[in-house]
Amino acid sequence: MRRLAACAALFLTVQAQAQIRPQAFGLPNGLRVVLLEDHERPLVRACLHLPLDPETNARPGLAAMALRVLGQSDAAAVRIGDFEQLLAGAGIELTPALRADGLSWSLLTRSRDQDLALGLLADRAFRSVLDTATLETERLAYWRETERLEASPRAKLRAVLEPDQTLQAPSLESLTTLSFEELLAFDARVLRPDRAVLVLHGDLGLEQAKRLVYLSFGTWTVSSAPHAPPHAPTTAPAAPSSLPKAAPAAPPPATPSVAPVASPQPVRINAPGALPRALAVALEPEDLDREARALLALLLPGDPALFPARIRIEGLDLVAALDGEAQASPAATEALLLERLQALRQRGFTEADLRQAKAAWSAGRALAGLHPEALVGEALDEARGRGTSPARMQALTVEGLNGALRRWLDPARLKAGALGAPRS
């Protein structure tokens, strides 16, 4: 009896103090699952991540459109309205996201509703029923959103400079030529369990998690045929009459998703009355060392060499901005920004900078516990082989760091542009 009491006390102490250790398992269909068990509060978080393929990356707007259509489609035998009522009735939050490296759904639910929540996530991921009517509705809504960019010169400049084709705002032509068959093909190519990673965090144990994941995702198969209603037309529909007419369809570009070439024409956004502002955007090189990336994210935003320009990291993009003086032209502002970036690239960082950044990175790891969603993100990165390792961080040299900086700020990789009043 006394031993049992001691065990119970130890269990409670360990439960309160122990670090959350990831536990991994898989399903026969190839789905990889990571569990972060934490019973502090009756909540469960999940993130299902699916990487995009080169074919999707080569088609601007396809992934974004697919995610929109999936979000408005019926799932399994549940109509979209009922699907949303089921989510809302249990207070389940299901949020889609798209980044250059993949699409994902994040889920938050009370632990008492975890069965329902994971079932609905599975329905959305591989039992969505695509139909042409939803495609047309979303096509129009997407175009309206793109048009709304016109109202904000800053947002428009940022969108025009987006280096990753997956995330670029679609042109009218690419939007009107996007066919239902392409959506079905996307569904079959991307939404497959053998490429997916599911991270679970919160108030559920390992056995419970295995049972739940097996029940919800066990029937997901690699060769899943596109889910289309029997009456779905197989030809590409004409653009709806409410969309402006585009030029005849061109085949999708065969370029890779990242086309880091300096634009031949300067990007200029006309903004009468606005002060000049230059922007330069560079997508993270695919082979960039994760540790170097983590340190650059610490070092670049505060570097005084960039003054008065500012730099920040947005997703996979490095974004530098400079607000010019009233009398400066947009072109001069852009030239000054690029000059600052190249000066920084040439200068690089010192051993002392590297040492300080490593210390800051190590200390900052303690902060992850303050953000349950960051813990999920870290576990996901780890499972995808994109996590940062303390051992590799320790081994990173200043040459490695500066090499990464030079690659990221390579002039051929930077896309730059400016907004301001046109000069007569």
């Binding site: 502090e40 009735g89 207070g91 109202a151 502002r277 790891r365 303050l370």
Partner: protein, 555 residues
């Protein structure tokens, strides 16, 4: 044995319950500052939120933008040079005072040049002096990329200006708690504001680039003459004339300890937190008794404003925004209105389900509460984008039908339960995330006068019935509290150029004389209507006369 198992299960169950008052520990320092601590064992870091009550609502017209500037200059970064004035050669403060004088001379010289363009300009000389001075100031700062003392320790900090408060959030490893206390107090004691001129220029540029905001237009019309209805873009001259010393003086009254609540959530208990907080924050000087007692005088929002309407043009899709003036968070009807907003808004709410999905009248529907704040009477806003082929009038009619239904028809049990569940999940989430919990406690103190309000609202929710929501909707969501904004799709560029220019000049003239946006809109519309009756030549002459009344920089 069975009892032990039950005990064990009960202990595990307790862990899974929602926030309890006893989890929050409170202390009051002698100088008036409040401290709230929520310990999360097992965390090796802490989240700290400083909430300074005040915010944009307490800015006088001459200090419009002060909260935003303070967030950028005082809390934009944490550099050692800003914390210790004795560091380096000479005084940084003296250089910054010199900069203030030069900036003011430049501003006055620009005004003089506009009035008398023929006069010999001092601008180049003043500009050169300022450049040299800026170089001297910059030379005093560290050239290290990790000069920010929090970033160098793996931490981060952000400040958010709001209508009711300035909220500063920091996160650091638990071992740095004492360091954080010392740094924050040094910051408040020094009030260096070394990046004042850059921050002000950036804020002015942002406001100019932003153009009119739809929500800002609605606030201006619904809350005329009140700081909640103010659009900063209308106060650019005041912002440009603000000096560093003005902001320092304002910060001394706003960032007083009696207006501060400090919330710490993380791996530190009260035993670890209180001594360091007392040592550092406790050393901040107490405000004079008279200053601590006085409440800022804020203008009342007239209750008899009636049903107001305005129209404006902007790029993109047309939009309908309807705002109802609602009571502050401390009012007994506020919680019922929060539930009403929950029933109407969100993907499962009535507006999306009926107007977007069933009737296909709208593309999107969104409901916002407490715009721009909850300490004083604010707005409940519905934002609707009509679907293709449907007019703003149709959508507005459908919205009013839904409001009437909410007021008159009984609320189905499943819909009611759904709204309660969503709020329950929202509260659980807030409790789970240290940043959200700290902010929630701090804002409850600001908006309702007591941090316990966050917990008490959860209790009251369980005792609120659908009838209370309907009663509150009948009182507050009626035409007498309503303001409607129609945002037309056409831009002003599509107008006749002469009319567009006349409209611009009339708006600028009206902006300098009339604060009430609805009255201003009415005056401009009436003026344009009358001018259309004149010949083109007469209209041109009238335009010239009107332009002559404008300040030179606005012509």
């Amino acid at each position: 044995m069975r009892r032990l198992v039950l005990l064990l299960l009960a202990a595990l169950g307790l862990n899974a319950q929602t926030l309890r008052l006893e989890e929050v520990q409170e202390r009051r320092l002698a100088n008036g500052a409040r401290l709230l601590v929520v310990e999360r064992r097992g965390l090796a870091a802490f989240h700290a939120t400083l909430v300074f009550r005040g915010g944009r609502a307490e800015e006088s017209p001459a200090m419009a933008g002060a909260t935003d500037l303070l967030a950028r200059t005082l809390y934009g970064s944490t550099w050692p040079e800003d914390l210790d004035t004795a560091k380096g050669n000479g005084s940084l403060d003296a250089l910054l005072k010199e900069e203030e004088g030069l900036l003011e001379s430049l501003r006055l010289e620009r005004l003089r040049q506009r009035k008398d363009p023929e006069a010999v300009s001092q601008l180049p000389a003043l500009g050169a002096n300022l450049w040299t001075l800026h170089e001297a100031v910059r030379a005093r700062f560290s050239a290290s990329p990790l000069a920010d003392v929090y970033t160098a320790r793996g931490g981060r900090q952000a400040a958010t200006p709001g209508a009711d408060a300035l909220v500063v959030e920091a996160e650091l490893p638990a071992t740095d708690f004492e360091f954080w206390c010392r740094t924050e107090v040094q910051r408040l004691a020094t009030l260096q504001l070394s990046r004042f001129s850059e921050a002000r220029a950036a804020l002015v540029a942002e406001l100019r680039a932003r153009g009119p905001q739809s929500l800002g237009l609605l606030q201006g019309a619904a809350l005329p003459g009140h700081p909640y209805g103010r659009d900063l873009a209308d106060h650019l001259p005041a912002l440009e004339a603000m000096r560093r010393s003005d902001l320092q003086a304002w910060a001394r009254t706003t960032c007083r300890p009696d207006r501060l609540t400090l919330v710490v959530v993380g791996g530190l208990g009260m035993d670890a937190v209180l001594p360091a907080v007392q040592r550092h924050f406790g050393a901040l000087p107490s405000p004079p008794a008279a200053a601590a007692a006085e409440d800022p005088l804020l203008p009342e929002i007239p209750a008899d404003l009636g049903d107001r309407r305005i129209q404006a043009a902007q790029g993109g899709a047309p939009r309908l925004l309807v705002g109802w003036r609602i009571p502050p968070r401390s009012h007994r009807d506020h919680l019922a209105l929060r539930l009403a907003a929950r029933l109407l808004g969100g993907p499962s709410g009535r507006l999306v389900q009926r107007l977007v999905r069933q009737k296909l009248l709208a593309q999107s529907a969104e409901v916002l509460m407490d715009v721009p704040g909850g300490r004083l009477p604010g707005l409940l806003v519905v934002d609707l984008v009509p679907a293709e082929g449907h007019s703003l009038a149709e959508v507005e009619g459908a919205l009013h039908t839904e409001i009437l239904r909410l007021q008159q028809e009984s609320i189905p049990a499943d819909e009611w339960q759904r709204a309660l569940t969503q709020i329950d999940v929202e509260m659980l989430r807030t409790e789970d995330e240290p940043a959200a919990l700290a902010r929630g406690l701090g804002m409850a103190w600001v908006e309702a006068g007591d941090w316990r309000q966050a917990e008490q609202e959860a209790q009251r929710l369980r005792n609120t019935g659908p009838e209370a929501v309907q009663a509150a909707a009948r009182i507050w969501l009626g035409p007498s509290h309503r303001t409607t904004l129609w945002l037309q799709a056409g831009s002003e560029e599509s107008q006749d150029p002469l009319e567009a220019e006349t409209a611009r000049v009339l708006k600028a003239l009206a902006a300098s004389r009339i604060q009430d946006l609805a009255q201003r809109e009415h005056l401009v519309a009436e003026g344009l209507r009358q001018l259309r009756m004149l010949s083109v030549e007469e209209r041109r002459r009238t335009l010239k006369l009107l332009e002559a009344q404008l300040a030179p920089e606005k012509r």
